[in-house]
């Protein structure tokens, strides 16, 4: 039985493979480092916006997995560069012979698995983010007035800072503020007839007004901010109908935050895809280099033609017998996963 995907590698192509692999490994290390930074950045952003995401929403899983995956990719890149550099030097190669096999297995299983998981999470993120933000922002808006309640007293400050920084107002627009009570009861005069009227005008006894907090104000507006009596066209004289939208921020915070986080996640997803591609190439190259050099018995400068392969000959048969003997009801997938017990010193290619 022939080995899987064999490739004949005489001396010159071997050297070229090692040199190309060295370059590719450094590139992988660079991209892995950048992905590490990107996932760290996403993690920090999600931590900052933690109050506006529902706690049940597991969005933090993506950057954490991406962090682990990019760390493994960085390690693979460094190992690859070291091994390919050593394979060109007869004195440096022997110590690498023992460790290269297990490292390749770890890189493929660990790195590949984590990367696939991270890519899957990146694709699934928009849905979870949408529901999480909907719930989180709704809670934040409802808690805006509770500046005296322990555990919720920061909601006002955080929501004001969010609206100021991200240039948004309410969940989907400024009218969201008309539907909730955002003025604390402590600052409402119970003797004021207007207050009493408003509270009695709705079933839940909420003090609802057609006004918004100051953080909704848009500094680009040419006139001082109009925050109150927004539904009454006669309340503010000389209202210019040509510029109705400059007074407050037009966008809702849901759209703004969703766009912002999705942008970050898609950048991260792209970088993870590139890392995945590079890591596959580096691992394949390392495997071919390793098996070719083993074929020569570890002698680097041997002029002989060695054959590099992915999996040794007879692997299928060996796995079949192992499965039959073990009698475990598992799906045999010899081509997808590398064999767990692969002796680092592979014998000469079988005829």
């Amino acid at each position: 039985m022939a080995p899987v995907l064999p490739l004949v590698l005489p001396l010159q192509p071997r050297i070229r493979l090692a040199q190309g692999l060295w370059l590719l490994s450094w590139l992988l290390a660079l991209v892995g480092g950048l992905t590490l930074l990107c996932s760290g950045h996403l993690l920090v952003q999600l931590w900052h916006l933690g109050t506006f995401l529902a706690p049940s929403c597991p969005v933090a899983a993506l950057p954490q997995v991406a962090l682990a995956a990019s760390a493994v990719a960085l390690g693979t890149g460094l190992v690859g560069s070291g091994a390919s550099r050593a394979s060109l030097d007869a004195a440096q190669y022997p110590p690498w012979r023992g460790v290269l096999g297990p490292l390749l297995v770890a890189g493929t299983a660990g790195g590949g698995g984590l990367l696939v998981l991270a890519l899957g999470l990146a694709l699934a993120l928009p849905g979870t983010l949408d529901t999480g933000l909907e719930e989180g922002l709704g809670t934040a808006l409802a808690n805006y007035k509770d500046t005296e309640v322990p555990g919720r007293c920061q909601a006002k400050r955080l929501l004001d800072e969010l609206q100021l920084r991200h240039h948004c107002c309410g969940r989907h627009g400024y009218k969201d503020w008309f539907g909730i009570q955002w003025v604390s009861n402590r600052y409402l005069d119970p003797n004021d007839q207007d207050v009493v009227d408003r509270i009695q005008s709705n079933v839940e006894g909420l003090y609802l007004i057609d006004g918004v907090p100051f953080s909704c104000c848009n500094p680009h507006s040419p006139r001082p901010c109009l925050q109150s009596q927004l539904s009454d066209p006669h309340a503010h004289p000389l209202f210019d109908p040509r510029q109705p939208n400059l007074n407050l921020w037009a966008q809702g915070c849901h759209e703004v935050l969703l766009g912002h986080l999705q942008g970050l996640a898609s950048t991260l997803g792209n970088m993870l895809a590139v890392t995945f591609l590079l890591q596959t190439l580096v691992l394949l190259g390392l495997r071919y280099l390793q098996t070719a050099l083993e074929g020569l018995g570890g002698v680097i400068d041997g002029e002989g033609e060695a054959q590099g392969y992915l999996f040794p000959a007879g692997l299928k048969d060996r796995l079949k017998t192992a499965w039959l003997q073990g009698g475990v009801a598992r799906r045999p997938a010899p081509e997808e996963a590398p064999p767990e017990e692969e002796p680092p010193k592979e014998g000469l290619p079988e005829a």
Binding site: E148, C153, V183, Y187, D189, R223, P224, L238
Partner: protein
């Protein structure tokens, strides 16, 4: 008697040259950092030049940029010299240039030190520029229709939100100017007419502030208007209320920001200056040690390196003598010519 004599054998000389080569290239990196810091400072000053009436002094960032470039040039040249110092043939062509080059290095170090000092000392001029600029900026807050000033409202609002400040020295500065444009005032209303008549200049003054002065840390919705009228708002006392608006004035906020920036830049420049001084001293030692190798056929010989050939007072006297000689040089020549002509005539 030479100043700070150190003996150098061949190995030590080689080590000194190699160490200096490395330090010079690190210093080129430091020069690039100084250039970057100068550029950053310049950009920060330009970003808020509206608040400073466009009259801020760019002396500090410009000199940092210049010093960064000069440092890169000088240090790469010194690196080349140190690299060639190990080869007597190559060093021979640098020999005559080394003494003037060291003098230039000393001057450069002095100027770098002065620039670092300037970073710390220009705070005072910035304060007066800021006070003046902010006052004018606030005056133009309402001119959102005047071309050339229509962005002042947006600039001041974003400044107050970003730096968490209000007004020039405090929020009461807004009570003294008209910050609401006439275009949005209903002149048929009695209240507006009363306010305009209440002061000499006919301005619409309110005891209110723009929304950007509001402090999000306040537990109650922001009170912007009728700030001095306790009865206008439920459970409000303007004398004890601290969290409603930002308390700091924007002049103090901007000043502290720029002071911190310039202090850090000054500290980094001082560190780079120390590094440069070390390099100049090392280069001087290398120069004198190589001069001490009198016989070029015997490079293994031990030689001595020093900072100054004679002690400081003697060197100063010799320097003055040479300056005087330079002045007397022409006179001596003229006398020599006359003396020459006199015996001929005689």
């Amino acid at each position: 008697m030479a100043l700070l004599k150190v003996k150098f054998d061949q190995k030590k000389r080689v080590k000194l040259a190699q160490g200096l080569w490395l330090m010079n290239w690190l210093s080129v990196l430091a020069g690039i950092i100084i250039f970057g810091l100068g550029l950053f400072l310049k950009i920060e000053l330009r970003k808020r030049s509206d608040m400073m009436d466009n009259s801020e002094s760019h002396f500090v960032p410009n000199s940092l940029i210049g010093m960064g470039v000069l440092s890169c040039v000088f240090n790469s040249l010194a690196g080349k010299i140190c690299y060639d110092a190990l080869d007597p043939a190559k060093y021979a062509k640098w020999k005559p240039w080394l003494k003037p080059y060291l003098a230039v290095c000393v001057v450069f170090n002095i100027v770098l030190f002065l620039v670092a000092l300037c970073c710390f000392l220009l705070r005072g001029s910035l304060e007066s520029t800021l006070a003046h600029g902010l006052k004018n900026g606030m005056k133009f807050y309402r001119d959102t229709d005047t071309p050339g000033r229509c962005f002042m409202k947006k600039t001041i609002d974003t400044l107050q939100i970003e730096f968490k400040c209000c007004g020039n020295n405090g929020f009461r500065d807004w009570f003294e100017i008209q910050w609401i444009s006439n275009r949005y005032l209903d002149f048929s209303s009695k209240e507006v007419k009363d306010r305009i008549k209440s002061n000499v200049d006919g301005r619409y003054l309110v005891d209110g502030v723009p929304f950007s002065c509001c402090n999000p840390n306040s537990p109650r919705p922001c009170i912007q208007y009728q700030l001095t009228n306790n009865s206008a708002h439920y459970s409000y006392d303007h004398q004890t209320e601290e969290l409603n608006l930002w308390v700091r004035g924007c002049r103090a906020a901007l000043l502290s920001y720029y002071s911190n920036l310039m202090n850090s830049v000054g500290a980094v420049t001082l560190l780079v200056w120390l590094f440069e001084v070390t390099i100049t001293i090392g280069l001087r030692y290398l120069h004198t040690a190589l001069e001490g190798v009198a016989n070029p056929e015997d490079p293994e010989r031990e030689s001595e390196g020093w900072l100054l050939e004679k002690s400081i007072p003697e060197t100063w006297k010799a320097f003055l003598e040479s300056v005087k000689k330079l002045g007397k040089g022409n006179q001596v020549e003229a006398e020599g010519v006359d003396a020459g002509q006199a015996p001929e005539a005689g």
